[in-house]
C-alpha cells in the first residue's frame, strides 16, 4: 500500500507548484488575453485583443523582426558551434585552457553580454574607435549602426556570442558518446574527410543539434532584456512590445499584451513538442 503511494507522494509537491505557477500563469494569461478582467468588471470572453493585434502593422513588424532575430541567431550559432566542436574534440596543446575560455560565458548572464556588445559595437564603441584610429571613418556617425539598428545586428551578435558555447558543449558531449569509430570506418571505406563529416558525423549529431537549436530559438524569441537594451524602439522585438503594452497606462492594452504573451508561449510549445520528440528518438537510438 505504501509503495503504491510513494511515487505520487514524492512527485506531488513539485508538480503542484509547477502546475500552479506555470500552467496557472499560462491559463490566467489566456483568459486575460480573451478580455477577462474581473478587477475591471469585465467578465465576458472575446477575441478583440487577438483581432486588434492581428490587424495592426506594428505587431506584424515586431513578430517578423523577432522571428528573423531568432532564426539568424540560431543558424549562425549552430554553424559556428559545429565548427568549434569539431576542433575542440581533437587533442592539442593548450586544449584545457581553450576549453575553459570556450565555456567561460556559459555562466555569464545574458544582460552582461548585451552591455559588453553595446560597448564594443556602438558608434562610439571600441570598434568604432579602432576604425577611427586606422582612418577608416572620420567620426562616430560614419561607423555602421549595429545597435538600435533595423537589422538588429547587435542583438544577433549577442545571442550568437552566448549560444555558440551552449550548442558547442552539447555537440561535444554527443561526439564523446559516439567516439571516432563510425567515422574511422567510413574513412577506411574510402570516404574523404568532408564525406565522412557530411554523411556519418552530421546525421549522428543532428538530433542533439536540432534539440539545442529548438531551445535556443524558443529562448531568443521570448527574451526581453537583450532587445530592450540593444534594439531599436520601433518596431521593437515582440517581448519588448508585450511588456510595453502591459505597462501602458491604458488598461485596454493589457489583453493585447497577454495575447502577445500567448503567441510567444504557443511558439515555444511547438519547440517543446519538437524537442520532446527528438529526445525520445535520441533515447531509443
Amino acid at each position: 500500500m505504501l509503495e503504491r503511494w510513494k511515487i505520487p507522494l514524492l512527485l506531488s509537491p513539485a508538480l503542484l507548484l509547477i502546475a500552479g505557477l506555470f500552467l496557472g500563469g499560462l491559463f490566467l494569461g489566456l483568459i486575460g488575453s480573451l478580455g477577462y478582467m474581473p478587477l475591471l468588471g469585465r467578465e465576458e470572453l472575446n477575441l478583440d485583443a487577438y483581432r486588434n493585434i492581428l490587424f495592426s502593422t506594428g505587431f506584424y513588424q515586431s513578430f517578423l523582426l523577432t522571428f528573423y532575430i531568432s532564426l539568424m541567431s540560431t543558424i549562425i550559432a549552430s554553424a559556428l558551434a559545429i565548427g568549434a566542436a569539431l576542433i575542440l574534440r581533437r587533442h592539442f596543446i593548450g586544449r584545457s585552457v581553450i576549453n575553459f575560455l570556450f565555456q567561460l560565458n556559459l555562466t555569464v548572464p545574458h544582460l552582461v553580454g548585451a552591455v559588453g556588445i553595446l560597448y564594443l559595437f556602438s558608434q562610439s564603441g571600441f570598434f568604432a574607435r579602432l576604425a577611427f584610429e586606422f582612418r577608416l571613418i572620420s567620426g562616430p556617425s560614419d561607423f555602421p549602426a549595429m545597435i538600435y539598428d533595423p537589422l538588429a545586428i547587435g542583438i544577433i551578435l549577442q545571442y550568437v556570442w552566448k549560444e555558440v558555447p551552449f550548442i558547442g558543449m552539447i555537440l561535444l558531449a554527443n561526439m564523446q558518446t559516439f567516439g571516432h569509430d563510425y567515422e574511422a570506418v567510413s574513412r577506411t571505406l574510402g570516404a574523404n574527410r568532408w564525406q565522412s563529416f557530411r554523411f556519418v558525423l552530421l546525421p549522428l549529431l543532428s538530433p542533439g543539434l536540432l534539440a539545442a537549436a529548438l531551445i535556443v530559438f524558443a529562448f531568443t524569441f521570448g527574451a526581453y532584456e537583450i532587445p530592450a537594451l540593444l534594439g531599436q524602439s520601433y518596431p521593437a522585438a515582440l517581448p519588448v512590445l508585450a511588456y510595453q503594452s502591459f505597462t501602458d497606462v491604458d488598461l485596454n492594452a493589457r489583453p493585447e499584451a497577454l495575447a502577445m504573451a500567448m503567441i510567444i508561449a504557443l511558439l515555444s510549445a511547438v519547440m517543446i513538442f519538437g524537442y520532446a520528440r527528438l529526445a525520445r528518438r535520441y533515447m531509443r537510438s
Binding site: L28, M37, F92, N105, V115, Y119, L172, R187, A218, A269
Partner: protein
Amino acid sequence: MLMQTNRHTENSRDGLSGPVWFSLILLVSWLVLPLIPLAIWSVSRSWYFPDIIPSAFSLRAWNYVFSNTSDVLPALGVTTLIALCATLLSVIIGLPAGRALGLYQFRGKALVELLILAPTIVPGIAVALGLHVVFLSLGLAGSYLGVLIVHLIPTLPYMVLVMAGVFANYNPDTEAQARSLGASAIQTFFYVTLPAILPGLLIGSLFTFLVSWSQYILTLLIGGGRVVTLPLLLFNFASAGRNDITGAISMIYILPGVVLLLLGARHLTGRSRAVESLRQI
C-alpha cells in the same frame, strides 16, 4: 587502408594546423571580448571617443559601488538572499521529485517529464504576465516573497531535472540494507542517501543559485521596480550611460558564475543534460 587509418589518428592526436589555430583563437577571443570593455570601464575615469584606452584611470566606480549611499550593496544582498532561498526551496521540493523520476518507471512519466521540462523552455514573460494579476490581488506583487515565488518557475524544474539525473545513477539497495540493520528513515537519509547524492546535489544547487541570480524579466514584472536586484540595477546604469559603474556592477555580477565554472568545469564537460539546463542563465 592502413595508411588511411593512420592519417586519421594523426589528425586527431597531433596539433592543429595554422588556419585551424587561427580560427580557434579568433572564436575564443570573440567569446571573451565583450567582457573586456566592462572590466576596463570599471577602472576608467575618462574614456572618450576616439581613445582606444582610457585617458585616465580611477577607482571612482568601485568606491561608489562600495559606498554607503549606493544601491549596489543592498541589491547584491537582495539578489543573494532571493537566490539562496529559491535554491533551498528547490532542493526541498525538487529532491523527492527528482528521486521519483530518476529511480522509478511509472504510468504517465513522459507527461510528468514534459510538465517539468516545459517551464525551462517557455519564456518567463509568457507566464509572468498572466500571474501578475493574481500576485497583485494576493499582495505579492512588489514584494520579496512574490519575486522569490516566481523565481521558482525556472529554478524548481531545473533542480528536479538535475536530481533525476543524479538518482538515475544511484542504487537504492543500500538504503534497504541500512533499514534492515535498524536505521530509521531519517538516519538512512542522512547517513546513506545524502552522502551518495551530495556531489550532484551541490553542483545542482550552485547552478540553481545561478539560475535565480540571472533572472531579469520575472523580477522586473513581479517586483514592479520595488524589488531591486543586481541585473535591474545593471540595466538602469547601462541605459543611463554610466559606463564606469555599469562595468563595476558587471564584474560583481559575473563573479559567482566564473567561480562556479572554475569549481565545476569538469562536471560540465561531457554531460549534455547539465549543459542543456544552463539555457536558463
